[in-house]
Symmetry: C2
Subunit: 502 residues, 2 copies
């Protein structure tokens, strides 16, 4: 069993863009995945989605992910589902096909396995018909790109048992996704209902030449799109209502509903002429960017937005950023609980990647991100010696008082980064560290960071001795490191030469 998630074995039936996204989410959470998809390109498509997901995850978080799960392509559906704890169905959106596949899963999977469908519109009650174990079936509807957008709509049908919904939500929460339970089933649930309403109106606006697709997209992304990345519709309007709040807003805005604004009483005919019009406008909007480039830009922007939200509410995190923060804390607690590796050689406490937000106009990692990486490595060391959230909340911590950085080479977007850490000295109050930063698969040394940390009583606002259990751990590391060569760059001032014999 994966220590992170309540399950350790999943099966994915269908490996397209959505199925591939599920596969990536499970594998990155340390869950083994068996896949069945008879499509000749299935392995290639899954490999591409997985590569995108790994890249995006690497940019999104530096938290220690569990060891990747094992991916197995199976020759038959029954082989894929035989020992699964969660089976996710992501085959094309046709009721007859889905029913046939779900019936086969129902027979082949253990009776206690959870059975999720990725359908974006079909009602779970309709999918349950004829199953021997309908109580474990539910809709688990994710959003593209599945490896970055956390939402999963969980919808039960008439025969779904409540425990199924609770178990599904627990698994999703454990792997860093946001399982949202929809109270009553309807076609298309909640998200696609909203999208559908807006989409119909958008098609009319294009057909009637009110604007082109680029203008329509700009209207969204320079205004309410920015709002909705963090708060939804109702919370946004609550604020718009001012001190009087939601009821006031509704009273003000209500009458507008009767105005002749939307054309939605009618469905636009998506004929060849309209398809061609939208296609041509979309080509112009893309400005020559290929789908793969747009996809990369989208993913990097999503990473940046989620990371920005992680810093929201004065550092507590907000929305999708709070979700990421909570997930990272689980990952770190998990890693802290693992058996400590040897401490005699420099510690390897941090492995991460150069994130898109870290790049300057030269295409290199920007200066202050070096210090961020070294700071993260210092934090990892502090967790290792027992300076965890509880210790900090009880009023004690180590603060950095002095730093000396040397830049030796550059790092580029997406490059792997590794920090090694040597404890140069420690006493009751002081902790003297030397980090080295290595980049790329060839592990070239690109920077060093020498840091002096002081143990403080945060409330009193002054230096104070660290707790005994912390000192015991840090001294053990310092003693082990005393045998190591002292870096020649340590103790140097700005401009002072470092001996070539270092």
């Amino acid at each position: 069993m994966s220590a992170l998630s309540p399950i350790s074995r999943a099966a994915c039936i269908g490996g397209g863009v959505i199925g591939g996204g599920w596969i990536a989410r499970f594998l990155l959470a340390g869950i083994d995945v068996k896949v069945f998809d008879p499509h000749p390109d299935a392995q290639r498509i899954v490999a591409e989605v997985l590569a995108n997901a790994e890249r995006a995850y690497g940019l999104l978080t530096g938290a220690p992910l569990p060891p990747r799960g094992t991916l197995t392509f199976c020759a038959s559906l029954s082989e894929a589902v035989a020992d699964a704890q969660w089976v996710q169905e992501s085959v094309p959106e046709r009721l007859d096909l889905k029913r046939r596949v779900l019936a086969e899963i129902d027979v082949g999977a253990p009776p206690e396995a959870l059975l999720g469908s990725s359908t974006s519109g079909l009602k779970p009650t309709d999918l349950q018909e004829g199953l021997a174990h309908p109580g474990r079936l539910f809709v688990a509807h994710p959003y593209n790109p599945v490896y970055l957008l956390p939402l999963v709509e969980i919808v039960g049908g008439a025969q779904t048992v409540p425990a199924t919904i609770a178990q599904a939500k627990a698994v999703l929460d454990a792997i860093g996704m946001k399982g949202v339970v929809i109270a009553r089933e309807i076609e298309a649930f909640v998200g696609d209902r909203l999208l559908e309403a807006l989409w119909r109106e958008a098609l009319w606006l294009i057909k009637d030449d009110i604007c082109d697709v680029e203008t329509l997209d700009d209207v969204i992304r320079y205004s309410f799109g920015l709002r909705w990345a963090q708060m939804g519709l109702f919370q946004t309007y609550r604020i718009a209502g001012g001190e009087a709040g939601m009821r006031h807003f509704l009273a003000q805005f209500g009458p507008c509903l009767q105005w002749p604004w939307t054309k939605l009483t009618d469905v636009v005919d998506l004929d060849d002429a309209l398809v061609e019009k939208i296609g041509a406008q979309s080509d112009a909007q893309a400005g020559g960017l290929k789908i793969r480039e747009l996809e990369r830009i989208r993913d990097e922007n999503l990473v940046g937005i989620v990371q920005a939200l992680k810093a929201g509410r004065g550092g507590e995190g907000w929305g999708a950023g709070k979700l990421l923060k909570d997930f990272e804390q689980k990952l770190m607690a998990q890693a802290g609980g693992a058996a400590a590796p040897g401490i005699a050689s420099p510690l390897v406490l941090l492995e991460t990647r150069v994130s898109p937000a870290w790049i300057d106009y030269n295409g290199h990692m920007t200066e202050h991100r070096y210090l961020q990486v070294f700071g993260d490595a210092s934090d990892a060391l502090l967790r290792r010696i027992g300076v965890d959230l509880a210790y900090v909340e009880a009023g004690h911590s180590y603060y950095t008082v002095e730093t000396h950085l040397r830049h030796l080479d550059e790092a580029k977007l997406g490059e792997a980064l590794v920090v090694t850490t040597q404890v140069l000295a420690s006493d009751e109050k002081r902790l003297h560290l030397f980090h080295r930063l290595f980049a790329g698969s060839e592990r070239r040394e690109i920077a060093t960071g020498e840091h002096m940390l002081l143990h403080v009583d945060a409330k009193a606002g002054r230096a104070a001795p660290a707790a005994a259990h912390v000192l015991a751990k840090v001294n053990a590391i310092a003693d082990a490191h005393a045998a190591m060569a002292r870096p020649d760059a340590a103790g140097r001032a700005i401009g002072q030469k470092v001996s070539a014999a270092a």
Copy 2:
């Protein structure tokens, strides 16, 4: 005339939340604003919006804004508009009222003044009726919060002359907003059409108990809200279509439009029971957060999202972030053109504020942001000595090779920061700087940064002498600073005491 904007005098008729937002946008761009609003609370409301806007702008950008415009409250409409170059009408959404106010503006304002209406739904042709100068009237429809969301829908009516639209767009672009021209007028234009369609469907979902308002908001903000902050509807679907692109997506998705998904053929009755239901659910969702707190969280999140997008596309910027980046470059070019202050005392090259994204879990500015601020100050010095974008693009720049930081005190969210810079030494290739960072109105010293920069030929990847015009400027500063006391902390290594006599 404000050098930033083509206009220097605006009038705002109506000072509510939207009018106040316009006032803030104009003032912060260096434009003088005269306001007329007979509402007894108008001055208080405008002051509150302006305070929010100043706070948000301070967090959003460290670029040098022009001197704030002058704000004047007028006793009559005619006084407010008498010498305006742009009059913005933001009175309540009633055609008869707007017509009366616009007629009064039309008489009182210079005939060449632009006349924008903030209406969110009325057609400009209907607003033009009976005006003596209808050619200069247009809709300029912004989105709340106006001081952070850049979008303005520009819509002309039957009598609007094309030059009006072009001038309006030029002014909006110059003050950092995004003027988007809507090709044909309809009620509610584009943004509110889309919002209205989605809003109707949302009300049905709540009324029918499919979900509550918190679930609906979560569905948005954990999925397509994150997508729409950076790309709109069509660009997102273009990617979803894969290599085959937009036409393929439409062919796939087209049939779904005929499915019985939306209930929009019918308008929900927003009766007392539904208003109360939504009100109660919204109270629960807010979890005790007051409107002011939600507003602050929203603004800080918007700042973080826009700043994340500024780092998008490998540092080029994307969407609202690209807009900000371009605006900042204009501001910096502007400031660079100003008369250089004296150089004999330490230079004051950077004033900024502690941004929400800079705060750690202790509520203090996090470690690596100190280096970011010092790096920004170094960049400001480089621009001052002629190392501008053109110089860098031609293949030369200064790279930091070594840094020594001392942390003396903490900084909190929103605190004002000032960096002073002393050039310790310079030669053909090397530039040795000493920064001091001060926080708060009392200007307490919270950190120092000593930096060695090396002039490089970026293509050759090695140190090279700086250009003569750069050396002339940097040497002039270094000579002027030679008379200053050398900071006692300069040249110190980690752990080495700094004399108390410093």
